[in-house]
Every structure is written in structure tokens, then in C-alpha cells.
């Protein structure tokens, strides 16, 4: 047996024995529930100790599956392995199926079939839906037609027909996003950047910190813009200002990296909290 295999076998056997011991003595991973006015809720530790809470098999199985899948995914940090591949495949499969079901019940049924044949949909799928057709209900025949054309690519002939609805979708979204971008990110950002460099407080006194902040904002924007201005060679004053622009960009990237690290650590913390608290009962 290879040395590495031996080490991992020992680690896994030790972990299994630890789990068996904790399961026998502390009920590791066992979930207890209380019946309340609002249904079954996870029981408080006091009720578990007092023996008034009921053991929930389904929630216990759920906790174990979640814990083992978490470990399978984390095992990728050591090396790619069959456990990781299995967990990854399950996640992909479940997500795809979930998306299909959600799309059927939230898009096709209420937004298309519910608009074209509301009484029929109300009778078997959505009782809360009004059975009266909207005045311009026939307009929904257009997305129905586009949807059928989109599926045409699966047919042996005439796959080109699916390009028309695709072109329509791309064109519509490009227009929609262009308008919002110009309004929210271009014009509004220019307006937001026009700031007074010398600010006075309401009592007439000079507001040093707000003035400094405005000077930094305006200066940073101008320096960054100069860095991306390539019509003039970056020499002399322009070169120095563009260097400041690089520093501004680097500080921005650093802040973004710091935030990303914080986010990832938070995600690791919640998984470890789950493993230690909900599964192993260590905390």
C-alpha cells in the first residue's frame, strides 16, 4: 500500500470511529423538532434535554446528506477525486431539473398559457388566476410562435428558423440595457462626479473632510481617465497623472480583492458552522 493511501485510510477510519462514537454518545447529526402553531420547528436544546422534542428522521437524513456533500466538495482542495466529481454531478443535475420545473411553473404556465387560455389554466393549475382573458390576449400568440421557432433547431431541417427569435431577443435586450446603461451608469455618473471642491458647512465654516473627499473623488476620476486616454503620449505631466491613475486603479482592485476575500471567508465560516454545530454538535 502506498504511503499516501495508508495515511488517508487511517484518517478516514479515525473520522468514522469518531462519528460512530459521537453518534452513540451525543446523537451526532440527530435533529429533533417541536410541534408548534406554525408547524414542526427545530427544537430548542432545552426541549431536547427535557425529552419533550420528537426525533425527525427526514431532517436527520437531510443534515447527514448536506454534511457529507459539503465534505465531498471541500475534498477538491486536496485533489480532484471521485467524491468531488459525484457531488458536482449531483449539484449540476439537481440544479438543471430545478430550473426546468421552475421555468415551467413560473413562465410557461402563468405568463403564456395562463394569458392565452386562463380558464383552462385556472381549472387545473392556478386556482388564484382570473379566468377572464385580457383585452389584448392574442398578442401572446407572438411569443408562442417565437418559442416554437426557437425549438425548430431540434428539427432535422430548417434549423436556421431558430435564429429569428434569437435575433429578436438579443435586439430587445440590447436596446433595453443600452438605455438603462446610458441613464444610470453614464449620465448619472457624470452628474454625480460634478462636486464642489471647497465645501462649507451649514453654519458657514469650512468643511475640511468633505472638501478633501470631493477633491480625492474628482482627482481620482480625472487621473484614471487620463490613463485610458491614448491620443496623447504618456510623457511629462500627462505621464505623471496617468501614473496616479494606475495607482487609483490598483487601489480599487485591491479593495475589490479584499471584499472578495471577506465574502469567501464568510461562506467557508457558514459551512464550518454547519458542520460543527448542526452536524457534530461541537459548539
Amino acid at each position: 500500500m502506498k504511503r499516501e493511501t495508508l495515511i488517508w485510510t487511517v484518517v478516514l477510519v479515525a473520522a468514522g470511529l469518531f462519528l460512530a462514537y459521537r453518534s452513540a454518545t451525543n446523537g451526532v447529526g440527530h435533529v429533533y423538532v417541536d410541534q408548534t402553531d406554525i408547524g414542526w420547528r427545530t427544537a430548542s436544546p432545552e426541549n431536547v434535554v427535557a425529552g419533550t422534542a420528537a426525533f425527525s428522521l427526514s431532517r436527520t437524513v437531510g443534515t447527514w446528506v448536506a454534511a457529507l456533500f459539503t465534505l465531498c466538495i471541500l475534498s477538491f482542495l486536496y485533489r480532484d477525486n471521485p467524491f468531488y466529481k459525484f457531488a458536482e454531478a449531483v449539484v449540476v443535475g439537481v440544479s438543471a431539473a430545478y430550473w426546468m420545473v421552475v421555468a415551467f411553473w413560473t413562465t410557461l404556465i402563468p405568463n403564456l398559457l395562463g394569458k392565452l387560455w386562463p380558464a383552462w389554466i385556472q381549472s387545473w393549475a392556478m386556482p388564484g388566476l382570473s379566468s377572464v382573458r385580457e383585452p389584448l390576449w392574442y398578442l401572446y400568440l407572438v411569443p408562442l410562435g417565437l418559442g416554437v421557432m426557437l425549438l425548430w433547431r431540434l428539427a432535422p431541417k430548417g434549423a436556421w428558423i431558430s435564429r429569428w427569435p434569437l435575433a429578436f431577443t438579443i435586439g430587445a435586450f440590447a436596446g433595453l440595457r443600452m438605455v438603462s446603461f446610458i441613464q444610470a451608469d453614464f449620465l448619472s455618473q457624470i452628474r454625480n462626479s460634478i462636486l464642489p471642491l471647497i465645501v462649507f458647512a451649514e453654519n458657514g465654516a469650512f468643511d475640511f473632510w468633505t472638501s478633501l473627499r470631493h477633491v480625492l473623488i474628482v482627482g481620482s476620476i480625472l487621473a484614471s481617465l487620463v490613463y485610458f486616454f491614448f491620443s496623447i503620449e504618456h510623457k511629462g505631466v500627462i505621464g505623471k497623472v496617468s501614473k496616479v491613475g494606475i495607482w487609483v486603479l490598483m487601489i480599487t482592485f485591491g479593495a475589490a480583492f479584499g471584499y472578495t476575500v471577506m465574502g469567501r471567508i464568510a461562506l467557508l465560516a457558514i459551512r464550518l458552522e454547519f458542520l460543527f454545530h448542526d452536524w457534530l454538535g461541537l459548539t
Binding site: 406554525i38 430545478y98 413560473t106 388564484g128 440595457r177 446603461f181 444610470a184 471584499y259 459548539t283
Partner: protein, 288 residues
């Protein structure tokens, strides 16, 4: 030492990071939080609303980002409950309704059982269409929302009567993990209607730097990642627990609890960056 560091297997770094996060969790290390301006802005926006005001809560996140965004979603809902605001929950992410249900059970049903579904809060569920949904409901609410998440006709829900569009809302609170999220709410709701739609948001760390340019004109308040959540948590707990002489429940201290591992992991990260740079410069100085 130089050779050891230069050839260090990255799995040792992973192990160190695991310990840096795990040890503070096991020892329940917590540190005090001092709220900053952006968290205070979110708190003030909710705080200044009179009882009965309408608040649209858009929960655009999923279980993958629940660890980061769950605590701020919990506290936002608690704050709205304490202020007796009318809460309209929606989601632009397919698993958003589950996140909404989770918070409703955790906060409203557990601690505010006197609130009535349909009169004080309503779950309108998920709507597909990303920013298209926002674009429609800023002018015509009922074109998309005809039923709630349970399938009840919206006309039969008392708190939904008389709402033409989301300009009727006194505040929009978005908890966002990506696309569609806060950026789209700012682009399609807050920017075209600056006098009628006011938005505050909580977002993941990855998104936060991208949203800073919108502050404060287009986005008056922002809770950036778990740090923002911990600061906001402190403000709410201070006002609604400590001033009344109560100890906050553990579920209202989740973000603060997760800041313990953050501190240790960040110290490790800084140490590793410094060490990496030392090795880099040593290697460069040894080149012929």
C-alpha cells in the same frame, strides 16, 4: 527557509486557512462592531419610516450566498417588524422564495406572531425575467403579479389593493447576490424615478465595489458583505434589545459571530501576502 517557502505546497495554505476560520468558530470568538456611515444610512432609511409604510423586500440570493446575506436579510425583516411596516416580499432568483420562507419562519412567525399574512406581510414569490420584471413593475404591478406565492389572487389580499406599481412603495430593500440584483434595481427603478423610488441594499463582497459609484445619489445606503451586516445588526440590536435591557437572541447575532473568523483569516491572509512578496523579492535579488 527560502527554498521551503518557495516550494510550499498550496495545500498547507488551505489547511492554515481552514484552521484560521475553524478555531474562532469553535471558541466563539467575537469582537465589538462600530457601525460606519453606510450601515447607519440603511438603518436610518428604515428607521425614519412611519408605522404602516410599504416596504418592498427583494431577496435576490440563493443558498450559495446565504452565509453572507442571510444575516442581513434576517435583520432587515426584524427591523421592519419592529417598525410595524408592511412588507412585500419578492424574488428575481428562482430559489429566492425559499430564502423568503426561511426568514419569515425565523423572524415573523417565531417572534412576531401577531403579524397577519396578507395584512402585514405578503410573499409574492419568484418572477422570471430578470431586469425585465423590474422594468415592468415600476409602471404596472399587476401585469406580472396576479397571484401571491401560494396562488391566492392578488385582489383578495388586503395589503395589495390600491398598488399600481412599485412607485407606491415607501422604500425598496434589495438583498442581492449578483445578477439580477442591486445594479439592476438601481438601473431600472431608482435612476429613472429618483423622486419616487428609494432603494437601499445589502450585497455580497464581490458586488460591493461595483455598487459604490451609485452612492449616495442613486443608492443612499449599502450593507457590504458580512461586515456591513454585522454593523447593521449592531445598530438594530442596540436600539431594540440593549436599550430595553434585553440580550439579543443568537439568530440576531449571526453576522457578528462570523466576524470572529474574518479577523483571524484576514490576519493570516495579510501575513501570507507579505510572505509571498518577501519570497518574490528574494528570488528577484538572487537572479544573475
Amino acid at each position: 527557509m527560502y527554498e521551503f517557502l518557495k516550494n510550499l505546497d498550496r495545500r498547507w495554505v488551505f489547511l492554515m486557512m481552514l484552521l484560521a476560520v475553524a478555531v474562532p468558530i469553535l471558541f466563539r470568538a467575537q469582537f465589538p462592531e462600530r457601525p460606519t456611515g453606510l450601515a447607519r444610512a440603511v438603518f436610518d432609511e428604515i428607521e425614519k419610516l412611519p408605522a404602516g409604510s410599504r416596504v418592498l423586500l427583494a431577496f435576490d440570493f440563493d443558498p450559495a450566498s446565504e452565509g453572507e446575506l442571510g444575516p442581513m436579510a434576517t435583520m432587515v425583516v426584524r427591523h421592519c417588524c419592529e417598525k410595524k411596516l408592511k412588507m412585500y416580499f419578492i424574488a428575481l432568483w428562482p430559489v429566492g422564495p425559499q430564502m423568503i420562507d426561511d426568514v419569515i419562519h425565523k423572524v415573523i412567525l417565531s417572534d412576531f406572531p401577531e403579524l397577519v399574512y396578507g395584512e402585514d406581510y405578503v410573499n409574492l414569490g419568484f418572477k422570471p425575467g430578470n431586469e425585465g420584471v423590474i422594468k415592468v413593475i415600476v409602471t404596472d404591478w399587476k401585469q406580472l403579479y396576479t397571484t401571491d406565492d401560494r396562488g391566492t389572487n392578488i385582489d383578495q389580499i388586503p395589503m395589495c389593493r390600491g398598488i399600481e406599481n412599485i412607485q407606491s412603495m415607501d422604500l425598496v430593500i434589495n438583498v442581492s447576490a449578483g445578477y439580477p440584483g442591486t445594479k439592476e434595481w438601481v438601473q431600472y427603478a431608482a435612476t429613472p424615478y429618483p423622486d419616487k423610488i428609494r432603494i437601499v441594499a445589502g450585497c455580497t463582497g464581490v458586488q460591493a465595489p461595483l455598487l459604490y459609484p451609485y452612492i449616495p445619489q442613486q443608492l443612499p445606503g449599502l450593507l457590504g458583505a458580512i461586515k456591513g451586516a454585522a454593523e447593521y445588526e449592531e445598530l438594530v440590536v442596540q436600539k431594540y434589545d440593549r436599550k430595553k435591557g434585553r440580550q439579543p437572541a443568537a439568530k440576531y447575532q449571526e453576522a457578528k459571530r462570523r466576524m470572529g473568523p474574518q479577523l483571524v483569516a484576514h490576519l493570516l491572509m495579510i501575513g501570507l501576502i507579505v510572505l509571498g512578496n518577501v519570497v518574490f523579492f528574494m528570488e528577484r535579488s538572487r537572479r544573475p
